[in-house]
Structures are given as structure tokens and as C-alpha cells.
């Protein structure tokens, strides 16, 4: 069972979370072209190893997190808030 160390709640089972997706996508602006949007939402790297992905603590604090997880071993290297301002606050409180 994957255990995710939520920066707000502590370490919890993955069943409390919902998987989001690739955390590295820079979504284009809303008026960007169909081509840019196609790139952003349909094309994904199939990474073997560590990748950054979003998880939602949906049965917890409801915060979106960026989780650095190995697709091979499920090892989790880091967990941060998705929101950059919250990331800074969490960093500063460490």
C-alpha cells in the first residue's frame, strides 16, 4: 500500500487520496491553439522511474499535492503542496 506523507495531515494510506495526473504539464492559456492543448492533455511520457504527479487528499484535507513517486517501486521521494505559495509556507515552517 502506498503511504503518502501529506504536508498537512501526516502519513496516510493512498486510499485517502485520489490520483490526479502528470504534475509537470504547463497548461496553455485558455485562448491557446488546439495544437497546444492537444499536446498538453493527450501526450504523456511513459516514465520508468521517478515522476512528479498530482494527488488530491480527497478524503482528508482536500489539498492537491505534488508527489515524486517511482513508477517501478512506488517509492516516494517528496510530497509538496501543489500551490506554490503554500509550498513556500510549508518550506519555511520546516
Amino acid at each position: 500500500m502506498i503511504r503518502i506523507n501529506c504536508p498537512y495531515c501526516g502519513e496516510r494510506d493512498h486510499s485517502e487520496f485520489s490520483y490526479g495526473g502528470d504534475a509537470t504539464i504547463n497548461y496553455p492559456s485558455l485562448d491557446a491553439s488546439e495544437k497546444e492543448w492537444t499536446e498538453a492533455i493527450f501526450f504523456r511520457k511513459n516514465i520508468k522511474g521517478f515522476q512528479f504527479e498530482t494527488w488530491h487528499h480527497s478524503n482528508g484535507c482536500r489539498m492537491w499535492l505534488v508527489v515524486e513517486r517511482s513508477t517501478v517501486t512506488h517509492e516516494i521521494k517528496s510530497v509538496k503542496p501543489s500551490h506554490p505559495d503554500l509550498q513556500k509556507i510549508v518550506e519555511n515552517n520546516k
Binding site: M1, I2, R3, D13, S18, G20, A23, Y27, S29, L30, D31, A32, S33, E34, E36, W37, T38, A40, I41, F42, T54, H56, S58, R62, M63, W64, T73, H74, P81, S82, H83, P84, D85, L86
Partner: protein, 985 residues
């Protein structure tokens, strides 16, 4: 029948006699027996028939590796098939029976299969019934499906009761620093060392007693160990199997709480399914003794050497009188000595020629000899032996038992669950665990240590490893080297006997023979994973506990490789079977999933509502008056709404509070239609698209104040929309100052619809001026009070197409609101209406719901193109224009009438062109209802090309599932009041 129980042996309680039934006859055993030991004591040799050949099967082992004595325990709704007799504790009144035999295990009619063996070789069923070329996957599949039920009956094990399980099961959770699996010398040493170092320790043992394989020793007493463990505060869990290891040191345990007692107490769960989250795992799961493949090595009376030691010293049962032990290693000699001391005549065949062993000469040792054939069928008469594996100078020994030890396999299963491949150790002829980066340490004979002192040392080293990895200590440690016997083992897996119809079993449970392995090789199944699946070697209960190594060695020989090059299959959880009941725990029946009710749930029921599940919600379905059927009721309700007024609980809609200075900008981005100009005091219907341009959900947003909105979503998508909004704000538009809060539970909502709805509401609000057409026009919103000083929000929103209001109060006021509204609605001959009438009203209006917005439909498909703004960009605005979503032949929302207005149709009907009724047709009907207003059945759905293309053509509604067909007319989905004059009234 003479008993095999002998005096002064065993740890059973001879003062406590237990009665049990085996195959409908009464027997006696003692407290402390397993079913297997009690059967052996009663001289019952045949306990089952084998999987394919229906050969008589006896008891091979004394533990979880048992692959012969699989029996059925209990009867009626408590019948439990495929239970290992070797691990089933005896209790008073236990009922058990043999399996896979008719009429019984001693005389089985299907035993004829034994003589038809060549038809039942590996892959027989598949080849014969499935792959009949050239019909493979065509007709052959149908033939297989026809024969399958007969095959399953003939080949197989016990059958489930087919009745609801009367027992309860529980899920439980725990945390600890260290979990130790196995209570042998290594596990106990590890646990004690860890507890002394102040770790919080759980010790798990699958047996009813702690001690591990020491329980087979004649002088072993575990009471002192138990005291020591308890005094150190170690949590001991017996009758508990660690069936699987998972990520992050999570261990799955199955605790058998009542399987060893007769009385079924409904207040105690039968089994408990534990999820343990540990910081470190130490596995001291022991090793499993292997057999040797040679002809007829499955005749009842064949057993592992260690098992007979268990039966002697733990249960006081001497399993044979004239015993031949066949081995290739040192581990059997203590047992040989003890068996002969207990009165058996013992001969040891040791395949090795050059070795030294100290004995008291109470038994004969035949150096260099191997067994190659057992004579007998239901019991052993004699054993043919040979000097060297290429059979020559054969000789026959009269005996009633053959004990085998082909070496020991460390139980590396749990580590394998983590994807750690074991490595072959040539010297010890076994797979040894590899190291892992995870916090898992293997100790004892699980890491190939054969003597007790080494095991104890490894336990202590294991805990030191754990402490180091947890950062508690930095101490050097070393594990003893694998092995520990005085003389090296000599690999011995098979003794070949080239005679027709010979059968040397590799996997007893599945009747896999050495010839099956060779056949698989000849047919090209040379990867071990393919070999496993083709022959079923090591599958099911066995999970490679006994036969695996023999199978691998045969494949290695055939491929001219070393076992290390052939590799091993991956062991998967569970280590031993886990019942479905334990997996589901308490999540059965009405607890299968959570139940959501609205705050006026009881009020609805008290007023005659029949309820229906919508997602997790219970919603009023219809409110029948006496003798009314569902359709009587909903037709009356829908008519009443159109004529006067109706009240409907809409609380299950998702409700989200959206607050903050950028709220308007936020809504403008997520909805396809414009929200930037929505005034305070107004609501707007809106559609949300996904990034890919498909419709996600529809709903309304009410502007309560400059920076505050109240959003409603559909019942089904409420959770998804909430997560979506949070995702956008936290990951994508992090510069927006908006806060979203789910308030679904906080507000109770009703819809009041119908021409008299304003008059009803007039009598219910404090100030009736606030709801006049001027003050509250269509899509107007107001925050006001119901009589009794109840704060409420009212919006003039219509789903039915009538003059209608949605009224929300805080959940605590739900019943008061319902009483107030209903009291006044009655004055206008109003009604309460449910989901069925709501559906009728909205289908008449052509309003889409989840039945239409199924995740494949675009805004244009739904006929809502005017809801897609051209003046702004929003989520999905670029992608909704991509080519595939703009094809001319997309299915577009339309209405349907049956051409013959007396006919009915069902949702799910496939719409086809006449003379081309096949496949998916050109469309589908998604929602249907009887329309009280129109006086006949109507539907909405989708058809390629939409109304314009088909309005003058008769189409066919094909409903092959219900064997129905009718002619259809395509009409506008807006079947009633298409200009919407009523709702503006």
C-alpha cells in the same frame, strides 16, 4: 480399526476427547490435534482424490504446504471447501469430508481417469475444447463454454455452499515499529532483541502455538518463551497468517478467530483481516521440505520426513510401522532415530555415497540408494529401490510408509511479493532471498540456515539491521552463512522410471507429472512463467511451495541449463488462501457502500415516498396514493405539477460556495457560457466542459453578492466537480483569489413547480413582495425568510418548464420548511413529486441529465450550442472545435415519438434506419417517459445528423434485449412549451 496413536508422545491433551465426523462416520481425537493428525491416528490413509486422475490421495505434510489433504469442512451454509486438513484444528463436532470423489474417496468412479492418463496431459482441456482449429476463438470457444461446466465438475476440488455466508468478518488496522513473521527460533530471537531495544513489536504466527518447527521436537516446551515475549510487551498473534507484503512495509494478515472452535457466536467475527503498517518487517517464515519425483510417489503413505516427526512428537501418532526414508541430505537422521525409538522399523536410503553421520545404529542406512517405484494403489505395499538414479540392480523393500526429503526450500514467498527475485544457491540446492532496499529482513531458515544456533544469531542480526535502517543504531552485524549441515546436500529431484503409464508427481494438487513438464518443453513452453500456466504447476493453493523446484530442475535439465539460469516464477499474495468473506469484511449487504440521505428523508417517507438510490443518495421516487402503481403515481404527480403545483426534494444536488475577489473570473473560465455580466441577485444555468471539450456537468450558479456565488451541480457529478474546482485553483490558476467550499450537506433544497407555485410560496415567505414577478423575475435570486424567521435562499429556476422556484434552507430547518410548503400546497390541490415525475417533466422539455451527458457528448451534440460563448475562452473552448467533434455524422440530441402513438419503448433502444437494423444503428434512446401532457410515450436521445436529417423519415427502434421493435418519428426535443412562456409567467 487399530489406532496409530502411541503412548508418552505428543503435546495433545489426552484428557480432552473430541468427537468428529469424517465422511459421515464418527471418530475421536484429542484437544491439540489437527484434522490430519486425528485422521492419521484413526488409520485413515485416503483423504481425497486427485484433481485430474482421481488418484487416491493421503496426507503429505503437517502444514500449509499440504497439497493432498484438501478437504471440505462444515456443512450447509458453513461449508468451507479446499481446507488443508493439516492446518485445521480439531474441535468437538467438526464435520469434514473428502473431495473430488463420487461416491467417496475410497471408491471413486472417476478413478478410471487414471487409466486414461494420456488424454489428461498438460493442456488437454485447452487443446481439446478451446483450440479446435480452424475454429479457434470462433466455434471452438462456444464448444469450450458448453463443455466447461462438465469439465469443472470432473476436474476440481470442493465446491462452495452457494448459500449466503452466515458468519461475520472484520477489518482491523494496527501500527508497529517492527512486525516479525514466524515464531521459530529466529523470529523469537529477533522479537526479543527488538523489544529489549524498546521497539514496539508484533509477532505473527500462523500456527495455534508459537515455536515454529521446534514444535516437531520431542523435548520442546514453548511456555517459557511465551512468558518472556509477553513480559516484554510483544503483541503475539497466533492463528494469524501474514499472507502478503505490500508497499511501505504494509503487511496483510488473516487472523482465524473462530475456525478452531465449534460454537458459532455471531458476536465474534469468524476471521479478521488485518492491515498492519510497520516501519520494518522481519520474516522468519521457515523452510519447506521438498519431496522427490519417482513413479507412484503420490500413493497414500508418502509423506515428508519432517511431517512424520511432527505427527510423532506433537500429536503422538506414529505414521508407519515399516518406514523407508529417502533423502539426499542430513536433516532426516534425527527423525529416523526417533521413529525407530518409537517402535518403527526404519530404513534410510541416502542418495549420497560419501558422507559421515553419527547414529546409534537403530536403523539401516543404504548409501547411494534411491527410490524409483512404489507398489500399491490405495496404500503402500513395497518400494522398489536402486543404487544410483539410472535404475539398475533393483531391489524391493516391503514397507507401509515412504518418507521423502529432497532438500529444503526457504519460504521466500513474502519477499517475492515485493518483487525481489530469489537467487539459486548451488551448494545448498535452494533459492535464497536476495537483499532489498526496502525495510525487510529475512532471518532463520528463510535465509537458508539449517541449524538452530545460526537461526537465533540471524534473528538478532536481523533486528540490528532493522535498528540500523531505522536510524536508531549503527551497529555492525553479520548473518551466518547459509547451510549448516555436516555433509553437503546432493541434488536429487527425480528418479526416472521408463515404463508406460508411469506417473511421477511434481505438483500433487494439480496432478502435474514429470512427463507434463517434458511435454510442455516439447511444445515450446520453456519460460518458467509459461510452464507454470500451461501445466498449472505451482498454481492455486500450492503457490509453488512443494513442487516448484522439481519442476524447475526438470526444465533446467531439458534446456541444458542450470536452475539459476532457468529462474523461478514470481510468488504472489496470498501466501495461503484468504476467504472472500475476510476481504469484504463488514462491507456486505446494506453496508456494502455508504448511504446518503437528505435531511428530509424521514419526512419524505412519512409522507408516503417510495425511495430510489441515485448514486449513494436515497431520493423520493414517487408518492403513491392507495393502490397506485409507479406509473399511476408519477403520471398523476407530473400532471399535478403542470396543472397546479408540486414539491420535490432536490437536496442531493451538489452545492458549492464560491467566494473571493476573483470568483467571477473563475466562473467565467470554467463555464462555457458568459458569467462576467451576471448581476448580483441573478442565477444562470451553466455548462462546464472538460479540457478535451466534452461536457463535464451542468448546473446553476447564483450571484449572492459581488464576490460570492452559490453553485449547484448535478447529483452524480457533485464530488467530481468539487475536486475539479480545487484542482484548478490549487494547481493551474494559482493566482486567482477564490475559495471553494462544499456546502452540499449544509443546505436542504426543494423545488416548487407549477402555475400555483408562487401563490404557495406567497403564503410561506415572511414578505411576499420579494417573490413578485418584478422583484424575482425568471432566474432571479433572493435571500429572505420563510415564516417562522427561517433564513432561506430562493431562486426562480425551472427544470420542469413551469413557473418554479428552488428554495434552500439550512439543513436543520428542512422538516419545518417541508411542513410549511406542504401545508400550503395542499390548499391548491398540489402534490409531492418524486424522481420519476421529475424525469417525465424534464423529458417533455428536452432537458438533459446524466443519462444524456455520459462523457461522450459535446455541447453541440446536446443541442446547447448557444451555451458556448464565442466572446471568451474557457476550459474546453479550443478542444471542442477539434475535427472529430465537428463531424457531420455525430449523434445529436432529438426527441422521439413512437409512430403508432399507442406503442411504448424503453431507454436503451437502438435507433436504426429501416432495412438496416444492425449493430449500433444510427442512434439511441436515452430517456423515455409517458407524457401526461401529450398523452403518449415520448423519449429523448441521439441520432446521427439530428432532427434536420430525419424529421420526415420513419426510423426503427430496435430493442433486441427485450425482443421489441417499433417505428419511430424524430421530433424536436422541446416537446412542450418550446418558447418557455410558462416559466416566465
Amino acid at each position: 480399526m487399530k489406532t496409530r496413536r502411541i503412548d508418552n508422545y505428543g503435546k495433545i491433551n489426552r484428557d480432552k476427547i473430541l468427537s468428529f465426523r469424517w465422511d459421515k462416520k464418527n471418530y475421536k481425537g484429542f484437544e491439540g490435534d489437527t484434522l490430519a493428525s486425528a485422521l492419521l491416528a484413526n488409520n485413515i490413509g485416503i483423504v481425497g482424490r486427485s484433481f485430474k486422475y482421481h488418484r487416491p490421495r493421503g496426507i503429505f505434510s503437517s502444514g500449509v504446504e499440504e497439497s493432498g489433504a484438501l478437504v471440505t469442512i462444515g456443512s450447509k451454509d458453513r461449508r468451507d471447501p479446499n481446507v488443508r486438513a493439516t492446518t485445521q484444528e480439531l474441535y468437538n463436532g467438526l464435520e469434514a469430508s473428502g473431495q473430488n470423489a463420487f461416491p467417496n474417496v475410497n471408491f471413486d468412479l472417476a478413478g478410471i481417469n487414471n487409466y486414461l492418463g494420456r488424454f489428461f496431459a498438460a493442456g488437454f482441456y485447452y487443446k481439446t475444447f478451446m483450440g479446435i482449429p480452424p475454429l479457434e476463438w470462433g466455434k471452438g470457444t462456444a464448444i469450450w463454454m458448453f463443455f466447461e461446466k462438465f469439465i469443472r465438475k470432473a476436474a476440481g476440488m470442493g465446491s462452495a455452499s452457494g448459500l449466503p455466508d452466515p458468519d461475520t468478518y472484520e477489518h482491523a488496522h494496527d501500527f508497529c515499529d517492527l512486525i516479525v513473521v514466524g515464531s521459530g527460533p529466529a523470529g523469537v530471537a529477533a522479537a526479543i532483541e527488538a523489544a529489549e531495544k524498546k521497539l514496539d513489536v508484533i509477532l505473527v504466527e500462523q500456527d495455534s502455538l508459537i515455536g515454529g518447527n521446534q514444535l516437531a521436537e520431542n523435548d520442546f516446551d514453548n511456555s517459557q518463551i511465551k512468558n518472556q515475549l509477553e513480559n516484554l510487551g510483544i503483541k503475539i498473534m497466533t492463528r494469524t497468517t501474514a499472507f502478503g507484503l505490500y508497499d511501505n512495509c504494509v503487511v496483510g494478515l488473516l487472523e482465524r478467530v473462530t475456525d478452531h472452535i465449534s460454537a458459532s457466536n455471531v458476536n465474534i467475527p469468524r476471521q479478521r483481516f488485518w492491515t498492519i503498517r510497520a516501519k520494518h518487517i522481519i520474516v522468519g517464515a521457515g523452510a519447506i521440505e521438498r519431496h522427490i519425483a519417482f513413479n507412484n510417489n503420490d500413493i497414500p503413505g508418502v509423506m515428508t520426513v519432517n511431517a512424520s516427526k511432527h505427527y510423532l512428537n506433537r500429536y503422538g501418532v506414529l505414521t508407519g510401522k515399516r518406514i523407508v526414508i529417502a533423502t539426499n541430505n542430513d536433516s532426516v537422521y534425527e527423525t529416523a532415530h526417533q521413529l525407530s525409538e518409537a517402535g518403527a522399523n526404519v530404513t534410510v536410503l541416502d542418495s549420497r555415497t560419501n558422507f559421515e553421520i553419527e547414529t546409534n545404529k537403530s536403523f539401516e542406512i543404504r548409501k547411494g540408494y534411491v527410490p524409483y517405484n512404489i507398489n500399491g494403489s490405495k496404500k503402500i505395499n513395497s518400494l522398489d529401490i536402486s543404487k544410483s538414479v539410472t535404475i539398475n540392480k533393483s531391489e524391493t523393500i516391503n514397507c507401509d510408509q515412504v518418507l521423502l526429503s529432497g532438500g529444503w526450500s526457504p519460504a521466500v514467498h513474502l519477499l517475492s511479493h515485493r518483487g525481489v527475485k530469489p537467487k539459486w544457491d548451488y551448494n545448498n540446492a535452494c533459492f535464497l532471498p536476495s537483499d532489498t532496499k526496502e525495510n525487510i529482513t529475512m532471518v532463520g531458515s528463510s535465509r537458508g540456515l539449517w541449524n538452530k544456533n545460526d537461526c537465533i544469531a540471524s534473528g538478532i542480526a536481523g533486528t540490528t539491521d532493522a535498528l540500523n535502517r531505522l536510524g536508531i543504531s549503527k551497529t555492525n552485524y553479520f548473518f551466518p552463512k547459509p547451510g549448516g549441515w555436516k555433509n553437503p546436500i546432493q541434488p536429487l529431484y527425480e528418479v526416472k522410471y521408463k515404463k508406460s503409464r508411469s506417473k511421477s508427481f511434481v505438483d500433487y494438487q494439480h496432478d502435474v507429472t514429470t512427463d507434463d513438464v517434458r511435454l510442455a518443453h516439447r511444445e515450446g513452453f520453456i519460460s518458467v512463467e509459461h510452464l507454470k500456466r500451461y501445466t498449472t504447476l505451482g498454481m492455486a493453493n500450492d503457490q509453488g511451495k512443494m513442487g516448484n523446484i522439481i519442476g524447475l530442475s526438470l526444465m533446467a535439465e531439458l534446456l541444458n541449463k542450470e536452475i539459476s539460469e532457468v529462474g523461478t516464477t514470481v510468488f504472489r499474495p496470498p501466501y495461503t488462501p484468504v476467504s472472500i468473506g475476510a476481504l469484504s469484511g463488514r462491507n456486505v449487504g446494506k453496508h456494502f457502500r455508504p448511504l446518503r440521505v437528505t435531511p428530509m428523508h424521514q419526512w419524505n417517507i412519512d409522507h408516503g415516498a417510495k425511495m430510489i438510490e441515485v448514486g449513494l443518495y436515497q431520493r423520493p421516487w414517487y408518492y403513491p396514493k392507495e393502490n397506485e402503481t409507479l406509473s399511476d403515481s408519477y403520471i398523476r404527480e407530473a400532471s399535478t405539477v403542470r396543472k397546479t403545483v408540486g414539491i420535490c426534494d432536490v437536496t442531493s444536488l451538489g452545492k458549492i460556495a464560491i467566494q473571493g475577489p476573483d470568483s467571477t473570473e473563475f466562473l467565467n473560465r470554467i463555464y462555457s457560457n458568459g458569467f462576467s455580466k451576471l448581476q448580483v441577485g441573478k442565477a444562470r444555468y451553466g455548462i462546464m466542459l472538460r479540457d478535451d471539450g466534452i461536457v463535464m456537468d451542468d448546473g446553476t450558479s447564483w450571484r449572492l453578492a459581488e464576490n460570492e456565488y452559490f453553485m449547484t451541480t448535478s447529483t452524480g457529478e457533485a464530488a467530481k466537480v468539487m475536486s475539479w474546482l480545487e484542482e484548478l485553483l490549487q494547481t493551474r490558476w494559482t493566482d486567482l483569489n477564490v475559495n471553494v467550499t462544499s456546502v452540499s450537506e449544509q443546505w436542504a433544497g426543494v423545488s416548487i413547480a407549477g402555475p400555483k407555485s408562487r401563490e404557495v410560496l406567497n403564503n410561506c415567505v415572511d414578505d411576499s413582495l420579494v417573490i413578485t414577478n418584478n422583484n424575482l423575475p425568471f432566474m432571479g435570486v433572493t435571500s429572505t425568510f420563510l415564516k417562522g424567521n427561517i433564513p432561506c435562499r430562493i431562486a426562480r429556476i425551472s427544470f420542469s418548464g413551469e413557473l418554479a422556484f428552488e428554495v434552500y434552507v439550512k439543513s436543520d430547518f428542512a422538516n419545518t420548511m417541508m411542513d410549511l410548503l406542504w401545508e400550503n400546497a395542499k390548499k391548491y390541490d398540489g402534490c409531492l413529486y418524486g424522481l420519476e415525475a421529475l424525469g417525465a417533466l424534464r423529458v417533455e422539455k428536452g432537458h438533459v441529465t446524466a443519462a444524456e451527458l455520459d462523457g461522450r457528448v459535446t455541447i453541440d451534440d446536446a443541442g446547447l450550442s448557444k451555451m458556448a460563448s464565442t466572446k471568451k475562452s474557457y476550459i474546453g473552448s479550443a478542444m471542442r472545435k477539434r475535427g472529430v467533434l465537428k463531424n457531420n455524422d455525430r449523434e445529436i440530441l432529438v426527441g422521439f415519438f413512437p409512430t403508432n402513438l399507442k406503442e411504448t419503448f424503453n431507454a436503451g433502444t437502438i435507433v436504426c434506419e429501416k432495412n438496416n437494423i444492425k449493430g449500433q444503428g444510427i442512434g439511441r434512446i436515452t430517456s423515455v417517459t409517458y407524457s401526461p401532457e401529450l398523452g403518449h410515450w415520448i423519449g429523448i436521445g441521439f441520432v446521427k445528423g439530428g432532427l434536420d436529417k430525419w424529421k420526415d423519415t420513419t426510423l426503427v427502434g430496435a430493442d433486441p434485449v427485450r425482443n421489441k421493435q417499433m417505428n419511430l418519428k424524430v421530433v424536436s426535443p422541446h416537446m412542450i412549451d418550446p418558447k418557455g412562456e410558462r416559466m416566465y409567467a
